[in-house]
């Protein structure tokens, strides 16, 4: 039984309580549900976390921004082609800290998702992000990115307008920024499309978010020519926050409530806000030069390889 089936069972039990009037009975049932949740939802598989990362009710970037920021002004457009609505960006204040926020925005329903292109940016989305990052640097504002995308959009026009170039440019420019940068993966971290907002001083991940080079479905197709083995692919891919912490690719895991972020959004936002503020406090101690050099140094260390001896050939 995967996490979604378990969640359905919890909801079913909860709806039964509402129909009852007897306080003694309902309290007993509530306790039973809590116990079931603890038992069923603590040891999650990698595939469970994939399902939670993509959950219909999972909070999206806008909800985080609304809670975390005291105020927020959205800014539009890349100044070159158009405004890509899969990425939102703007200026906001977090506990008095003025920051630039750039986020990939999923929809809550089909209409919204069509407008947001399922949070799959075109090149102009990445170029809008870069424009706002450069502006943040001009005014010495820290940059917070919220990552939640299945990937960069694979389409004719996206290729025509240089999807590869737009992503590459962001990787290069982000590594060079002289202001504090923090990325938080809040849902799906889909490959290059996520990385293009994720070359930062600090990389944070919500506990049940994922970060991978390819979707588990794509991986299963390549590995075993069978898309139905996506759940097994998720296990071998090392895509959970705990896997990535082991690789030291991320700096911090932000805890989620039992059952996932959507079971207690406020708690999730609180944890996220606190983590961002703590990291920001540390990064603010560094000079622009130190921020850039330490960021470059961090990325230069990624990867495992071995020394090779040609005599063994």
């Amino acid at each position: 039984m995967n996490i979604l089936a378990k969640e359905r069972k919890v909801r079913e039990l909860e709806s039964k309580i509402d129909e009852l009037g007897n306080k003694e009975v309902t309290n007993k049932l509530k306790l039973e549900i809590e116990n079931y949740k603890i038992e069923a939802m603590t040891n999650l598989t990698s595939w469970d976390r994939v399902l939670l990362a993509r959950h219909q009710l999972r909070p999206t970037a806008k909800e985080y921004i609304e809670y975390i920021c005291d105020d927020f002004v959205e800014l539009h457009g890349d100044r070159l082609f158009r405004d890509d609505k899969s990425i939102i960006g703007g200026i906001g204040t977090i506990n008095g800290n003025i920051v630039t926020i750039i986020a990939q925005q999923k929809g809550k329903n089909l209409d919204e998702n069509l407008k947001r292109n399922f949070a799959m940016p075109h090149p102009e989305g990445y170029r809008k992000a870069l424009r706002l990052m450069k502006q943040a640097e001009k005014f010495r504002r820290p940059i917070i990115t919220l990552i939640d995308t299945p990937g960069a959009y694979p389409g004719l026009e996206a290729e025509e307008r240089g999807q590869g170039e737009a992503i590459a440019r962001n990787l290069l420019e982000m590594s060079n920024l002289t202001v504090p940068t923090i990325a938080v993966i809040i849902g799906e971290g889909g490959s290059g499309g996520a990385l293009a907002l994720g070359v930062t001083n600090k990389m944070l991940m919500l506990e049940n978010s994922i970060y991978s080079i390819l979707s588990p479905e794509g991986y299963a197709t390549i590995l075993w020519k069978d898309v139905s083995l996506a759940n097994e692919a998720a296990e071998v891919m090392k895509l959970t926050s705990y896997d990535l912490e082991d690789f030291e690719i991320i700096d911090r895991i932000i805890k989620e409530p039992l059952g996932g972020a959507h079971f207690n959004k406020t708690k999730t936002f609180q944890n996220t806000k606190q983590a961002i503020l703590e990291e920001l406090y540390q990064l603010r101690k560094l000079t622009g030069e130190e921020l850039r050099d330490s960021r470059m140094e961090k990325y230069r260390k990624f990867g495992f390889f071995q020394r090779f001896n040609y005599d063994n050939l």
């Binding site: 960069a152 694979p154 389409g155 004719l156 996206a158 290729e159 025509e160 307008r161 240089g162 999807q163 590869g164 170039e165 992503i167 590459a168 440019r169 990787l171 290069l172 420019e173 590594s175 060079n176 490959s191 290059g192 990385l195 293009a196 994720g198 070359v199 970060y211 991978s212 080079i213 390819l214 991986y219 390549i222 590995l223 075993w224 020519k225 071998v236 891919m237 090392k238 895509l239 896997d243 990535l244 690789f247 690719i249 960021r295 470059m296 990325y299 230069r300 990624f302 990867g303 495992f304 390889f305 071995q306 020394r307 090779f308 001896n309 040609y310 050939l313």
Partner: protein, 275 residues
Amino acid sequence: MAWYSETTTAKKKSKKDLWVKCKKCHSHIYKSEWEENLNVCPNCNYHGSITSYERINLLFDKNTFEELFNNISPIDSLKFNDLKGSYKDKYEATIKKTGISEAVVTGRGKINGIPAIVAVMDFRFLGGSLGSGTGEKILQAANYAYDNNLPYIVFSASGGARMQEGILSLMQMAKTCAGVARLNKKNIPYISVLINPTTGGVSASYAMVGDLNISEPGALIAFAGRRVIEQTIGEKLPDDFQTSEYLREHGFIDSIVNRKDMKDYLSNVLSFYNR
């Protein structure tokens, strides 16, 4: 009976040895003519593949090339297995077959007298995929260019990020870009040459951010695969889609240069940076 089968095998063997069939116009070219023409079709100018060392020989003045960072090879950190076996077995067999230890050869030399450092990807090594070791060599070569104030040229030929190394491969995109970004600090020229094919993660990192982006004629340069796009949008794509000519037309490539002219082209543009 014996006489007959002997001549047919001899004939078959000699035919395969003597002729090359062009992948584009399908004409049969004498192998000697094909090789003399640098693996380019004399009929249609199709640029066939060459190995990293063949390219290095074409590029550098005689006896000037010195290989660097050649002691790096992959490691199977994810314990990866697919239907064909383990990643470890695969790269060990590839190293034995190709004689190179990663998908890129790095070194320094002189191009018509101008010193430069190069990284030349080799498609024979796991499809030129970008793994941790590949990224490390490209980064170390960039750092060498930085330390020695030398222009940096990368020849890309790659199917994209190396799936067998998962997320670690993705990180190589950022790592290599950070390496070439640092060259800006010292105004060191970085030239990217995109060879057939340059796709996926490589086309979305160091290969696309040269001060100059150069390509050979007819090279496939793509972020998303043709089939994925056709499935997504449900229509057929134009024939020249994602070729170097298409990219030059749309503003992403500075120039398309024939293989035989590449050395002189590069030394000529590099000379502008030294004046």
